[in-house]
């Protein structure tokens, strides 16, 4: 079921490469967690999009969505136990998100499950930004940074209906320098 986006910002217009966050502060968490890192900059994104099939409905949707993107950066960490990362690890990222242009459009904090989800947009001025999603719970941390023009409804729809199998990102064959190899 398609849930209508409750916010008015249906389309994030973002184009400047300057809106990609510096996520290096998270690198040290790789030693403590099962992690996946994806760094797709503009050229690699275009290259990857060429390999998407128009015949596959899901891939065709992705192809349409990424057409105007300038970059996608993802960090996911799954920890064995709670307390292996702290708010301090996220502080440098939050600091960047406090800079002009960025605004938090969603902030959900579940006290019961200690589950937090935040969505930030940068769409201000002549230097439009991008989208950042930060999801954190005691044993998992996910940070997504999308730079470029993207339809949030369509992106959310992908999350609800995307039928691709779990993608195994083979980190031993990571795309240097774009994909970090973990241990």
């Amino acid at each position: 079921m398609k849930i209508p986006w409750v916010l008015t910002a249906l389309v994030v217009v973002a184009g400047a490469s300057g809106q990609s966050l510096d996520l290096k502060s998270l690198d040290k968490l790789s030693d403590k967690a099962k992690d996946v890192t994806v760094n797709l900059d503009g050229s690699l994104l275009k290259f990857a999009a060429k390999f998407l099939s128009n015949d596959d409905p899901d891939q065709a949707k992705v192809k349409k969505l990424v057409a105007e993107l300038k970059g996608i950066y993802v960090r996911t960490y799954e920890f064995e136990s709670e307390g292996e990362y702290s708010e301090a690890d996220l502080a440098p990222i939050r600091s960047q998100l406090r800079s002009p242009g960025w605004s938090r459009i969603v902030g959900v904090h579940s006290k019961k499950e200690h589950d937090n989800a935040e969505v930030y947009l940068n769409s201000g001025g002549s230097e439009p930004g991008g989208l950042v999603i930060v999801c954190a719970n005691p044993k998992e941390l996910v940070v997504v940074n999308i730079v470029g023009k993207i339809d949030l409804d369509e992106l959310s729809e992908l999350g609800g209906n995307f039928s691709i199998p779990k993608v195994d990102v083979d980190k031993s064959k990571s795309l240097k320098p774009d994909t970090k190899k973990d241990d």
Partner: protein
């Protein structure tokens, strides 16, 4: 034996060329026809065998190299595609979850 020597000596004795010999040779040289454009083109189109060998060697080196490069590009593209699908899946999924939580909290 001396008969043979006499014959050889007679056969190899120096003889002066006719007086107009040099003129006739020069005249013949001047009369030698130049190769036509077709003959020249034919030479270009049919290079010596050694050139064909060089071409074959180059092709045998370049073709496998190009094939390897093509395969590497395809592998790189396929990996990038997998990463893109994964990234979009994660982004869409997390956005969808946040959206659901906002709706749930707004209903409370």
């Amino acid at each position: 034996m001396s008969h043979l020597e006499d014959d050889l000596r007679a056969a190899l004795r120096r003889q002066e060329p006719p007086a107009d010999f040099a003129e006739r040779v020069l005249a013949r040289l001047n009369q030698a026809p130049e190769p036509s454009w077709r003959e020249r083109l034919s030479v270009l189109m049919h290079p010596p065998r050694v050139q064909w060998v060089a071409v074959a060697v180059m092709v045998s080196i370049l073709l496998p190299t190009a094939a390897v490069q093509y395969r590497k590009d395809m592998e790189k593209g396929e990996r990038a595609k997998q990463q893109l699908l994964f990234a979009m899946h994660v982004a869409g999924n997390r956005l969808h979850q946040a959206q659901k939580k906002v709706l749930e909290s707004s209903r409370l």
